[in-house]
Amino acid sequence: MFKTLTSTAAATALSLTMVATGAQAGETVDSVRDKGYVQCGVNTALAGFSAATGGEWEGLDVDVCRAVAAAMFGDADAVRFTPLTAAQRFTALQSGEVDVLSRNTTWTTTRDTSLGLNFAGINYYDGQGFMVRKDLGVTSAKQLSGAAICVEPGTTTELNLADYFRANNMDFEPVVIENTTEVTAAFFSGRCDVYTTDASGLASARNVSAENPEDYVILPEIISKEPLGPVVRHGDDEWLDIVKWSHIAMIQAEEFGITSDNVDDMMDTDNPGIKRFLGVTPGMGEALGLDEKWAYNIVKQVGNYGESYQRNVTEKLGLERGLNALWTDGGLMYAFPIR
């Protein structure tokens, strides 16, 4: 009896130590490769960015995950999605439940540092706005003193809102509901006078979730900068590189004029930059620890940034490129040199 107890205790202690030493750099890339798919955290329901329509996840944020999967495995479908609320997302990423978080997440100092996260880039430049019912007759956010405002908890939106009302000496009653679907439902039912989130989110709610989009107006004030992008946790720089460059590859493809339709023709090009990009001239894939056709697979299976934007944001939400146009067209999308 005594012997059994001691040996069990010893075995338990040993296995526990093994678990403890398991955490090492490079572990995310290894574990993703082992399981054969990318586990990606996305928004529960935000048309244009990530929404499950007909059983398939679609959206600008979803395409980032698919691009990473295409780069890793040559298969954009080697990805599984975990829908997360704003309040759940960082814990899910920190604890390893998801490998990458692509859920319209604003890049801030606190998140980059004390939350132990790394932002891999910006796939949408946004800003916070307000939406109200048209029949309220409100034309400016400065008239919103005393309003009940629907907002999601754990967001930069929640903090900007408090800051904005403080700065303008106005009062408000926050109605804080965690789930995107529930919070928009509360707004449409009239529980709040105002719904506030990123301007893209407002367009998504108005154009897709509202019964009659004409009944709502988005106020002209944009009260904050919201650079949204994919996030990974600290501790695996190799993985950060893969996510970062998968995202940049989509923008670079648009700069080169490579689309999912003409990518095969482009393989015969003489342009040394494109040859390097598509892996005709090898080197880039090796540098990232990926197949040489990593960028080819992204463009072929997911498309370039412009295609993804057109398909998801312009067609579903009717939003122009604006800040998200290429830098050559006066926007902020600027791919770092792939060489």
Binding site: F2, T110, S114, P153, G154, P174, V176
Partner: protein, 396 residues
């Protein structure tokens, strides 16, 4: 052979000790305790190491930082400038507010339905049974979603508010009630009320003492309740009977002034009360039915009035059966109040969630709210155990 064995045992005193029952049990206890301790130490150590490895901030320093987010309802002064610590206190108070109100209302509703279940009236029994089977068998979270959509969709916007009584407004922003305007008299009335309640207990003590000594009955219940009402009322009359009210008024988007019960609080309170009352009703029914019929008959044959039979014979015996399971229900209600997060009532969990998200300190925030729930639950248990002991059968 026997001689040999004894010699061996004597030669090896360690073995003798190991075969000693007391020693062995002590060894096992030390082993188990050590194992649990090691496990706990390992978990804490591993968590800290991992957090450090991932560069996640640790410690409770964040509690003093500015929270910078808004909270819709609060029993204490709170602004976005307040600290995270204060925001959590707001959450605790909101949890207590809805739990205590819920416990009181669920007890009242549950008792009525429980009495209905043992009624001789067929319709009452049927209605009670239907109520219980309906609300007990639907998950509370779904009930909350249901009530919330009813409350926010069924009532009009503030500009078209329902106005059933002068000064009372029903809207999808909640119920607005007029409250007495601020006046020092009300503080005096409150003190008078406390004094009245103290008077009630003194009267009760005196009446029972007299009953023991002389056998004369004094109707302390009705007289005592009279005292509780009369003392504050007299105070109010003597100090000039102020009747000025603070009535809610529509200003801009919403009503201001008066007392507001938010739809979130109302929904949560309604959901918790309706759900928990089903269990309480069954507990009350079983309590009443556990008192043997002979008790009732014996008391009646002694010539006691029916109301006395209930108060002096049935209830004290039923309560002994009722109180322990009732404690469970009170604890359940308090813990279920954490479902508030789904409908946006700023309770402890809701505010902790926001805090952990804004600061990234999930482990600390979870530790804080778990220990607070544990403390609240232990306090309720402690109180109910004390009450149970008081009501328990005293054997003489």
């Amino acid at each position: 052979m026997t001689q040999n064995q004894t010699n061996q045992a004597a030669a090896n005193p360690v073995m003798t000790l190991l075969y000693d029952k007391t020693v062995r049990s002590i060894i096992y206890q030390i082993l188990v305790f050590g194992g649990v301790f090691l496990m706990g130490w390992y978990l804490v150590n591993n968590t800290l190491t991992n957090l450090e490895q991932q560069d996640i901030a640790t410690g409770f320093g964040f509690l003093e930082k500015e929270a910078a987010f808004g909270i819709s309802e609060s029993l204490i002064q709170y602004t976005p400038e307040s600290s995270y610590g204060r925001a959590l206190v707001v959450g605790v108070l909101n949890t207590l507010k809805v739990s205590i109100t819920g416990i009181i209302l669920a007890t009242i509703l549950g008792t009525f339905i429980g009495i209905g279940l043992v009624s001789k009236n067929w319709l009452l029994r049927f209605l009670g049974k239907t109520y219980i089977e309906t609300f007990r068998n639907i998950p509370l979270l779904l009930q909350l979603f249901f009530w919330y959509s009813v409350v926010t969709n069924a009532f009009p916007s503030p500009r078209n508010a329902l106005n059933p009584i002068d000064g009372v407004f029903l809207t999808n922003r909640g119920l607005y009630l007029p409250v007495p305007a601020e006046n020092p008299v009300w503080t005096a009335v409150l003190i008078a009320l406390v004094a009245g309640i103290a008077g009630f207990f003194l009267l009760r003590k005196w009446a029972l003492k007299r009953l023991e000594a002389t056998g004369e009955v004094f109707p302390y219940l009705s007289v005592g309740l009279g005292v509780i009402v009369a003392v504050p009322l007299l105070t109010w009359l003597v100090s000039g009977a102020p009747t000025e009210l603070n009535t809610p008024e529509l200003t801009g988007f919403n009503f201001s002034g008066g007392l507001n019960m938010s739809p979130e609080f109302f929904t949560l309170l309604l959901g918790l009360t309706v759900y928990t009352a089903t269990y309480i009703a069954e507990i009350v029914r079983s309590g009443i039915q556990s008192v043997p019929k002979g008790q009732n008959e014996a008391a009646t044959s002694l010539g006691l009035k029916p109301s006395w039979v209930m108060r002096l014979i049935i209830l004290p015996q039923a309560l002994r059966v009722i109180i322990p399971p009732m404690t469970n229900q009170y604890l359940n209600l308090t813990k279920n109040s954490s479902l508030a997060v789904a409908i946006g009532y700023p309770d402890l969990v809701s505010i902790s969630n926001t805090t952990m998200n804004q600061t990234g300190q999930a482990v600390e925030a979870v530790v804080i709210f778990m220990s607070i729930y544990l403390s609240i639950s232990l306090l309720i248990s402690l109180f109910m155990n004390w009450y149970n002991k008081r009501m328990a059968l005293v054997e003489r």
